[in-house]
Each structure stands twice: as C-alpha cells, then as structure tokens.
C-alpha cells in the first residue's frame, strides 16, 4: 500500500530536467531578444529619467507652488493644499527631497501608463462580453500571483533598473482601472443609452458623449486605486533597482536602521494620503451634477 501514502509524482530527475529545460530555453530566448525588448522600452526609460531630472532640477519653491496649486485645483480645499505643502516641506527638511522626487516621477509615469493602457482595455471589455470573460481571469491572476514570481522573468529579460521596476509596478497597479472602467460603463443607465440610440447616435458618439462621461466617477475611483497600488509597490520596486523612497526602507530592513526606515516609510504614507485625498475629492466633484449642485 505504499503508493497510497505517497502522492504519485514525476521522478526527481525528470522534474529537474523539466525545470532546467524551461529555464534554459527562456534564458536563451531572453539573451537573443533582450536587446530588442530593451530597445522597445527605451523611450519609457528616457521619459522616466527626464521627468526625474526635471523634478530634481526644479527649484524647490516652484515645486511647492505647483503642489499647492494642483492640490487646490483637485480638491478645492485650502486645508488640503496647505497640508500637502507642509508635508512636502517636512519630508524635504528631513533630507528625503530627492528620493521623494524620484518616487513621484515613478508614480506619475506608471499611473499615466496604466491610464493609457487600462482605459481602452476597459472600454473594449464593456463593449464585448467575450473580451470581458477573456480578460477578467488575467486580471485575477495579476492580482493574486505573488509579485516575486513575475518579477523574476522581468528581471531576466530586462535586468535590474528603472524600466523593469516600472513594468512591475504597472502590472500590479493596472487591474483596478481596467475593472472600474468596464464596470462604470456597464453601469450607465439603460434608459439613457436607449435615448442616445433613439436619437440615432453612433457607437462613438454614445461612447464619448454618454458612456464615458457618466462612467467618469467610477473610472476616477479606478485611477485613485491605481495610484495607491503603485505607491504600495515602491519598496518592492526598489529591490530591482528603482530609486526613490523605497530604497532607504529596503536598506533599513536589511541593516536594522529603525529611524531611517520609519522616516521613509512615513514619507510614503504622507504621499499616499495626499494623492488619495486630492484624487478622491476630484472624483467626487465629477459627479456633482447628480445631486443637483452647481457645476464648475
């Protein structure tokens, strides 16, 4: 009855050969195609570096003014704008200004990529049920697979640095915006769509003048979540060589520098709170018309 006690499995040697075989062929494939793939992502790299340099080179008072302005425009709240500026000043005062700029540029670029890729995918999903049922499991996979498992092939392909970090962040952060774009469009009132049809709208007219505007609050909730998830990836991204606030946290963990870890960790939290509140307020204002408030 031995065969009952032990699960029937591939022999140890067979298993090792199988793994070796796959690893070997992937390595070979990445060696021969790595350059081409890297070249493909070059524009991204240059953009990221350019933005980071720009942010660091810009005099800090100007950055503070821009931060205050954006926070106010987004939220229409003086308190939030003031709070943002004070947080930035504190972070800078404790010597984390440059790292913060690097993190902000990473978050901005990855959010932009997620929006540019995610919204069209979400729209396609809302239009075709088949696309929805094909993509939903992929999104589930992206959200549940341990990050390190997909980090590995990315690193094997592109090595260590900003671009693989950026890709890892995007893979992790893009699902909410895709899901919420799809959901938002599907939730648009059927009667309103029927009205648009009854007046002879084309699909495009319906999409751009009815569906997307009415789905915007949901789409924006997706953007908000995407930003939050990107921020959550900052420390992990630093493991594959992305500069920013995550790097010192990683060092702190490795060397037990309590204060260093705490300071940078708090800086990340502060950024998260600012991004979250401002984008949430903005999203709320997008649906003001639903409650009959004056619109700006």
């Amino acid at each position: 009855m031995d065969w009952l006690a032990e699960f029937p499995s591939l022999g140890k040697r067979d298993l090792r050969d199988l793994k070796k075989g796959i690893d070997g062929s992937f390595r070979e494939w990445s060696r021969s195609n790595g350059d081409a793939i890297e070249a493909f992502f070059d524009p991204l790299y240059f953009f990221l570096v350019w933005l980071e340099k720009l942010l660091i080179a810009t005099p800090w008072p100007i950055i503070l003014i821009i931060v205050a302005g954006l926070a106010y425009l987004g939220s229409r709240s003086w308190k939030l704008a003031l709070g943002s500026v004070v947080s930035f000043m504190l972070i800078g005062y404790f010597g984390m200004w440059k790292d913060m700029m690097a993190t902000i540029s990473l978050i901005s670029v990855s959010t932009l990529i997620c929006i540019a890729v995610g919204i069209p995918i979400g729209i396609l999903m809302s239009r075709y049920d088949r696309v929805q049922s094909a993509i939903t499991p992929i999104l589930d996979l992206m959200q549940t697979i341990p990050i390190f498992v997909y980090l590995l092939p990315v690193v094997m392909l592109l090595g260590i640095g900003r671009v693989p970090g950026l890709i890892a962040v995007c893979v992790y952060a893009i699902p909410p915006i895709i899901r919420l774009t799809n959901l938002g469009i599907r939730l648009v009132d059927k009667e309103i769509l029927e009205a648009a049809d009854a007046f002879g709208s084309s699909y495009r007219q319906k999409l751009f003048s009815v569906q997307i505007p009415l789905a915007l609050p949901n789409i924006f909730a997706g953007v908000n979540q995407t930003i939050m998830m990107a921020l959550a990836m900052v420390v992990i991204a630093s493991m594959i060589g992305v500069k920013g606030l995550g790097m010192p946290v990683l060092q702190a963990v490795q060397n037990q520098y309590l204060t260093l870890g705490l300071m940078n960790g708090l800086a990340i939290v502060a950024l998260a709170i600012i991004f979250d509140r401002v984008s949430q307020r903005y999203g709320q204002r997008l649906q003001a018309h639903r409650y009959g408030k004056e619109h700006e």
Partner: protein, 347 residues
Amino acid sequence: MSKTKLKIENLYKIFGPRGKSFIDPVKNGMSKQELLDNHSHVLGLNNINLDIPEQRIQVIMGLSGSGKSTLIRHINRLIEPTAGAITVDDEDILSMSQLQLREFRRKKTSMVFQKFALLPHKTVAQNVAYGLTIQGEQESIAKEKSHKWIESVGLSGFEERYPAQLSGGMQQRVGLARALATDAPILLMDEAFSALDPLIRTDMQNILLELQKDLHKTIIFITHDLDEALRIGDNIAILRDGKIIQKGDPQQIIMKPADDYISDFIKDINRGKVIEVKSIMQKGSSKGTSLDSSCSLEDALKVLNNEKNNECSVVDDNGKRIGKVTLDAAIGALFREKASRNKEKYK
C-alpha cells in the same frame, strides 16, 4: 381619414434565444402562458396589425406587461421583431441597414421616455440640442433651435441648469423639447406623463395638445390611464397580452367596448363628460335647439331637459343639420351597457 403614415402588419415578438422557432406554434394558437411555462420564452407581441394615420395622435393603451413598450420600440427598431412588417411612408423599416436606420432615427422619429432619460451631465440647453448635435448640426443653429423649443415648453431661463436641479414636470418638458427639436415627423411617447403628479400631468397634456395644433406630428402615445387616452387620443388601440383587442376612436371604445376586459377598463369614467352627442345621434330632424355634434352628454342633458318635447337637432362643424338626439337616448347612454350585449357584433 387622413393618409396612413405608419403601417404595422402581422407583427410578432417572442423574447428568448429561439424566438423564431415558436412563431408557428404561436400562430396556431399557443398562448402566452403556455409558451412561458413549457418553453420559457415570452410572447411580447402577438399578431399586431395597426394603421397609424398621419398627423394624428394614436394612443396605445393597456395594463402593465401588455406589450406597450415593446410595440413602440419596434417603430424605431430599438427592438427587432421576430416576424412581421413595419412600413413608414411606404418604406420598409426592417430592411434598413444600420446606417440607414441611424439616419431614420435622426430624421424621422424622436422619442420621449417615461423616466425622462435626460443626460445628467449636460445642461438643459445641451440636452435639448442633443439630437441636433448628433446630426452634426452647426453649434449656432443647434443653439438657436434648442432655445426656441425650450421657450415653447415654457422653460426659458433654465437653459444652464442641470436636470437634477429641476422638478419631474420640468424634466419632462426638457424631454419633450429634446424630442421636438429635431423636427422629426413621428413622435414616440412611452408613458411620457405617467411618472408625473395628476395636476402636472394635465399641464403636460395641455402643452402637448397646444403644440400639436401647429405641429401636426404623427404621435404614438402610450399610456395605461384611460382618462389620458380619451383626452389625447384621436385613435386608441387597446393591448392585452401582446394582442390588440380593440381599436377605434374614443367614442367607439366607450359606446361599444369589445369585451368585458375593456368594459372593466372604462367602468369608472365620467360618461357625461366623455360621451359626445354624435355617439347617440339618431336619424331624422327636430325643431329643437341645435347642438354641436361634439357637445358632451352633460351639457346636452341641460338643454334637452328644457326643450318642450325633449329633442334637439344636431349640427356638424359647418352648422349643417345631421340628425337629432332625444333625452331618453342621452339618459340611456349615461348607464353603462354590458359588453356582452354587444358581443355578437364584434365576434
């Protein structure tokens, strides 16, 4: 009778994935219940035949679930029929391509919805101009036209408001203005006033009737409210379980209900106000006072009662004598006739 604008012939709609395969059983008499119980398909429309005259108001009436919305949505093909034919101005709607259909919806029909279906993120002016914007109309022209229609439904000054800032009655005025703005000759109204309070509903009916005097549109008006149907309709068709069980002008329906279902429907109306003298007119002439043929029973009774021999003559719109009425006939008409007494005439 004016010219037929819209012709619906042998129209069937069976909801469900295999609707087409049940056409023959339904034609051979399978009932709605049977179809639902045994095959889980819903019989939406069952052999509808209707000629809708140009420039008149055709009311379609029926209880909830009788297929009113399904029927009206076939006219602009928001719903595709399972079998049958629909022609507008002798043009076959069902053979139109998507592009032709879009053009048809833009130019020939417009629609008013029960729950208004306004675009919440657009202002009143933008909502009214929606149909024109979609057609690619110049902004200045669209603005001018929508302004004119906003004025004609009495909403001047509200152009820059958002729908959520308006009351239900005002929102439906926007809905009406939006539908009128495209100058489409056919106006489809699916329980357009049903969501409104009684007083406001009467207001809206007045606005519609007033506008119709100048516009002469072909209006298909759906309601489940008999008073509204009698007030608005030039013609009425009554639907039950997807079938038309009676069609005719309001007087015909009140005086000669086709079956008990309809007599039940009309049992609570104020017959004195609704029935007109022409419905109870007899042949012959009388020396009594002249009554207009569209005079209501209520008014006629007063005059008849004061006449010496309780008779009046009836004249048409041009003042020509066309018959007489008697007090007995007027009193008789006040009491509801049982449908069964007329049944043999219809069966």
